[in-house]
Structures are given as structure tokens and as C-alpha cells.
């Protein structure tokens, strides 16, 4: 347990001092930060649930919708191979 704690501290220390001593590491960290802000904050947190995600009231509702799509073969269609 003590060894694990020591290793964790060592890793964290390496990480912090490594970033502090390198301009490139700081730049890459900034890119990661901005990217995750866009991916998680803007896309996953805002755009996706508000505008893009199909809305289902519950799993039951979603299951029924999928089943409806699966079973609705009244009018058959042709898959356009050109696309």
C-alpha cells in the first residue's frame, strides 16, 4: 500500500514538474483542454441533448419506436446502390 502511494505521488510529481518545465507540454495540455471543453461542454452538454438527440420519453417508448420502424414494411423501398 505504501509502495503504491509512493508510486502515485511520484507519477503526479513527474506529471506536474514535466508540464511546468515544457512549453510544448503546456501547449498540448491547452489543446486537450479546449478540445474536451468543445466535445464534452458544447457538444455533449449542450448541442447533443438540446438539438440533435432523438427524444424518447422512456426506454419503453424508445423500444416501441424502434419496433415500429422494424415492422413497418407496408411500403417497401429500394436501397439505392448508387449511394
Amino acid at each position: 500500500m505504501k509502495k503504491l502511494q509512493f508510486l502515485s505521488c511520484l507519477m503526479l510529481e513527474s506529471l506536474i514538474s514535466g508540464i511546468q518545465n515544457s512549453r510544448l507540454a503546456k501547449l498540448l495540455l491547452l489543446i486537450i483542454f479546449i478540445k474536451f471543453l468543445i466535445f464534452y461542454g458544447f457538444l455533449k452538454g449542450f448541442l447533443y441533448p438540446k438539438y440533435l438527440k432523438p427524444h424518447y420519453e422512456s426506454d419503453q417508448h424508445r423500444s416501441e419506436q424502434v419496433m415500429k420502424d422494424l415492422l413497418n414494411t407496408e411500403k417497401q423501398f429500394i436501397y439505392d446502390r448508387k449511394h
Binding site: 515544457s22 498540448l28 420502424d69 414494411t73 449511394h83
Partner: protein, 517 residues
Amino acid sequence: MIENIDFTLVNWSRGQFAMVAFYHWLFIPITIGTTYIIAIAQSIHVKTGDPEWERIAKFWAKLFGINFAIGVGTGIILGLEFGTNWANFSWIAGDIFGAPLAAEGIMAFFLESTFIAVMFFGWGRVGKKFHLVSCWLVAFGASLSALWILTANAWMNLPVGMNFNPDTARHEMVDFWAVLLSPFAVNKFLHTITSCFVIGAFFIIAISSWYMLKKRELMLAKRSMVIASVFGLMGILMVVLTGDRSAYNAAQHQPAKLAAMEGLYNGQEGAGLVLFGILNPGKSIGGNEKDFIVKIEIPKMLSLLGYKDLDAFVPGVNDLVYGNDEFLIMPASEKMRRGKKALEALASYKQASGNNDTGQMDKAKTIFEENYQFMGYGHFDRPESIIPNIPFIFYSFRIMIILGSAFVPVFILVAFLAVKNRLENNRWLLHLCIWCFPLAFVSSMAGWIVAEVGRQPWTIQGLLPTMISTSNINSTAVILTFWMFAAMLTVLVIAEYKIMAAAIRKGPAQKKGGNNV
């Protein structure tokens, strides 16, 4: 939805997924491939104590770090797309996809993320052996992360280890090991990972060649090229070996894909493998036109690859569409009939379930289970619809094979000349090596086209057509996000190129010790 199916939505959803996957794939093989070469260089350093090897490992770790930092998270967009554009697919396959994707997240987080920090910043700060173990763990962690997503992808090609629950409209996993160890999963993992080794090796060879042409960092370049060429050679030989297995798997489970790969319209016993060919653009399924304008083939090779028998019958497109009594190949129209029967039984089951009619439910369920394997065919009304885009797959397959075959002698030549210390005098080869890096990507992308477009019109082979897999959303949203993702990812690729180019121009650290990142 279906009677008013919006092909703009289907096609843009497909296009968007392909575009994001394309950008994502620009980062992945470099990450997976270079980690092993870094670990090998560091192992030599720990074994011999030669500081030059550590300098080599540090330099490639720096470039790896740039690629990792910019590429990490690009896969998140693909995950989001499952929910936005492919909601039906996500629901139907969610139980199968959930376990491997969760495992991928855990692997990536615990193994890669933890030890990447030690690998990047641990030089001189932690013990050499612990640092070396961290390098190897990052390499294995990156490959293991890929294992799970490739397993999920393989399941789409060969759906095994699951049952369809008619109450929830979901495929539910009943045998995790059948999913993980299916012939498609094992082979896809090995084929893809070793192709990453090839790209990673060419990444290092290309940059080392540039240094040699500029007469800079000669020791680093020579030693790097020795490791990378031997590693790349082993990688490409594994790619060839597993590629052979891919053809076998396609023949057994996706004969339409194999027929499209070879432009084979009429099945043959002792079918040849087309080495080079130009398809007749006027050729139609079932038509009497000539298949090829010109072709060169190796006799009987396709039968050997697909069935391990020189004289085996390989079904062509026409056999798969219209059937072949002699070789007991069921026509697509019969599969469609059985598929419709499965869907009717499913509808009947749902209705009986609503009425609590257990007798009718059991009866319907029996009919459904008898015809379940053809369920997807019930959505089509033209037998020809089950065949993917033949020219696209045929030419993509040729590009992959021709480039992949060309890489074998390149690796052998580079390894031989690097060991003999005669690389610098062969400037043409150094220029060729630089070109091989983007060409390796072209070959890899062509392979993905064969695998994914070749599976069409299915997302889940034989069970779920692509057009049923999309969400009930407005296609405008998909078109808008297509361009938004394209712009975002292009910015990332430009950033990668600029930062990487600057780091390469700067070269490795000159001083002994110190932090190189």
C-alpha cells in the same frame, strides 16, 4: 418512418460517420504503432546502457505525445453519432456494444492514461525499469483499447453470442466469449493492429529518411530505421497472413462482399484472383455484358483463399441474387420471403403480447425464431439490393492489396541497407520511404472501405439494414453537424501537422538527460 424513408438522412449519416472515422483513423495507427518502437528502443537502452537509444526513445515519445494529445478524444464524436444519427442501431445493438465499449474506456483510462504520464515525464525521475515497464504498458494498453472497439465492429459483420428479444427489440448478449473470440473478432483485431504497426513503422522511417536526406541526426535516423523496418516487416507479414484469413471469413460469412471485392458476377469452380482489372462500367447484375474490359488473374487463387480448395466453387453476384440450385445457394427472393415472414411473426407476437394471448405469442415466436436469420431481408423488395457497390469495393481492394504487397520489399530493402549502413547513398529509396507513410494510410483507408462498404446494405450482417438503423431526425441537423465536425477535425489535423513539423525540424534534445517533452 420507413414508408417515407429519407435517403438524404441515411446517406449523410453514413457520410458523417465515415468522415469522422477517417479523421480519427489519422491519429490511431501512429499512436498504436510508435509505442512499440519507443518501448523497443528504451528496452535496448536499459539492456545496453547506451544513452543514444534513450535519446531515440525520447524523441519518438515526444512525437507520439503530440499525436496522442491532438488525437485523443476524436473518437468521442463517433460515440455521440451513435446516439444522434444511429439511434435505432444503438438501441438494437446497444447490449452488445455496451460491454466492449465500457471495457475500452476502462482500459484506456487506467492503463494508457496512468502510464502515459510516466512515459512522457518520467525520464530520469523514476527508476529505469519502472519507466520501461510503463512504456510497454502504454503500448499494450493502446492495443487493448483497440481490441474492444474492433470486437464490436466484428460483431456487426458476424453477429454471434446474442439473442433477439422480441419484447424490447434488442439483441441481448448471451455469450460474451463468443462475441470476443468469434473468428471475425480475432482476425480483425490482428489484421488492424498489425496494419497500425506498419503505419507506425513508416511514420518513423519517413521522418528518419527526411533527416538522412538533410544529413541531420544520422545516428538517430539509422538506428530508428533498423528497428522500424524490422518491426514494420513483421507487421506487414502479419497483415498478409491475417488478410488471407479475412478472405476466408468473407467467403464463409459475407459472400456478397467477396464477390464484390473480385468483381465476380458468375460463380466459378476454381475461381481466379484478379491481380489487375478494369471493370466494365456498363455491367449490370443479371446482365449479359462482359464483366471486365481487361483483367489479369491468378488461376484458382480465389477458390484457394476463400475455401482452402483449388477447385472450390466461389459464388458470384448473380448466384447470390438469383440463386444456384446446383450449389444449393438460396436466391435472395427466398431470403426476402422468409425475412418478411419473420417480421410478420414479430408483429403478430407484439399484437398477441398486447392482448395477453400467450398461445398466439408462443406460436408467433416459434415462426419468428425459424426465420430470424433472414429478418433483415424482409425490408427489401429487390433481390439486387443485397449487393454492395461493386466498383468502389473492387478498386479499393486492389489499392489495399497492391500497396500492401509493395511495402514488403520496401521494408526488406530498408532493413537490409540500414543494417549494412548503406541507406544514405540511396536517396531515391529515402524519397520513396517518405512517400510510403501517406501511402500506408491510403492502403489502410482502402481496407476500411472494403470492410465497411463491403458490408452494405447492412449495419448488422443479414439482420439489420443500414436504412433502418438511422434515427428519426431531420437530415438538416446531420448535414450541419457534418460540416461542423469536418471543420473542427480539419483544425485539429492542421494543428497536428504544424506542431509535429516544428518538433521534427527542431529534432531531438542535444543534451544528455533533461526533459525532452
